[in-house]
């Protein structure tokens, strides 16, 4: 039997989810909407950013929301030369885990600027979106500061 050219068609799986946050995650996004960042104090006293409802080691419910700075140091970074759809920037950028001043854990976000500036230990500061709604993208990106 002769082989035919196999058919192809684009397929998009998309969904518009709205996720309720609860009080802990809600506190983080409320702060973002207002232009600042919070974490939560873990069982061992360290400040976890972004905040989780339960301690990752002890599983205890956590309750003390703590404000942290919107600047800090890069603890890890990677360079994305070809951004993918949905990522925060549409030109080459850096991914980073950032330890904000006052926090004890790395916060995942992006750094906008030339690759040459990116180093572990370099200080970065949040560039806030002009209009914020309570979303991780209320921070457009971090930028390296002198």
């Amino acid at each position: 039997m002769a082989e035919v050219e196999v058919l192809r068609a684009p397929l998009v799986v998309e969904y518009p989810f709205t996720r309720t946050t609860g009080p802990v995650i809600g506190a983080f996004f409320t702060a973002l909407r207002e232009g600042f960042i919070v974490g939560i104090r873990g069982s061992d006293g360290r400040v976890i950013v972004p905040p989780f409802e339960y301690d990752p080691q002890t599983s205890e419910p956590l309750t003390e929301i703590v404000e942290v700075a919107d600047e800090g140091e890069i603890v890890s970074w990677a360079w994305s030369g070809e951004p993918l759809e949905g990522q925060p920037l549409d030109h080459p950028f850096g991914w980073a885990l950032i330890k904000l001043d006052g926090a004890d854990t790395g916060f995942l976000h992006v750094v906008d600027g030339p690759k040459e500036q990116l180093r572990t230990g370099v200080r970065v500061k949040a560039r806030w979106a002009a209009e914020r709604e309570g979303s991780i993208n209320d921070i457009e990106a971090f930028e390296v500061i002198a």
Partner: protein, 181 residues
């Protein structure tokens, strides 16, 4: 009620506790994109549909005829079904559902009927729409025929069949479809 677990209250910094309307939800739309390909046997089937011909594939082991066909027999697991059988566009309703509920994005007017139609000569019902029929009268055993779209709109898709409608024949004998309900 006393067994309900509630989260302990949070202590908030002043900057947060003074805010009247905290964020309670976030929108997270997501789209993931693929290029889908159904494989050889379904592609051949759809090309034939574009030529107004329904086909099925027959399993050499259990002799069942599958429409739409895939390369394998879903009953036996036999990995090649080389026999392609031409089928008419006429069949028997083995089951149906009257949809009365409007949902977001729905193109059809309610009520409408979705039906499983056992095409003559095949062993597995095909799902499609029933139209040109009073929904109250739809029943198992009803004989139906395909209504195709205009020549110019035909394509390698089951949407080349607009819908099925009753063809006026007397109901099919129960024995002719009892193994397929």
């Amino acid at each position: 009620m006393s067994d309900v677990v509630t989260a302990p209250p949070l202590t908030l910094p002043d900057r947060l506790s003074s805010i009247d309307e905290p964020v309670k939800s976030i929108r997270t739309p997501a789209a993931v994109r693929y290029t889908y390909s159904p494989g050889q046997a379904p592609s051949e089937f759809l090309y034939k549909v574009a030529q107004k011909q329904l086909t099925g594939r027959k399993c050499p082991q259990c002799t069942k005829v599958y429409i739409p066909p895939r390369e394998t027999c879903p009953t036996c697991g036999v990995t090649t079904l080389p026999d392609i059988i031409d089928l008419p566009d006429v069949g028997t309703v083995t089951s149906f559902c009257v949809v009365n509920v409007q949902f977001y994005g729905q193109a059809m007017e309610v009520p409408y009927v979705g039906a499983l139609i056992l095409i003559d000569g095949s062993d597995i019902p095909l799902m499609h729409l029933l139209q040109e029929v009073d929904v109250e009268t739809v029943h198992m055993g009803m004989r139906v025929e395909a209504v195709w779209v205009d020549e110019g709109d035909m394509g390698p898709t089951l949407e080349s069949i607009k819908y099925f409608r009753p063809n006026g024949e007397p109901d099919a004998d129960w024995n002719s479809y009892k193994d397929n309900v």
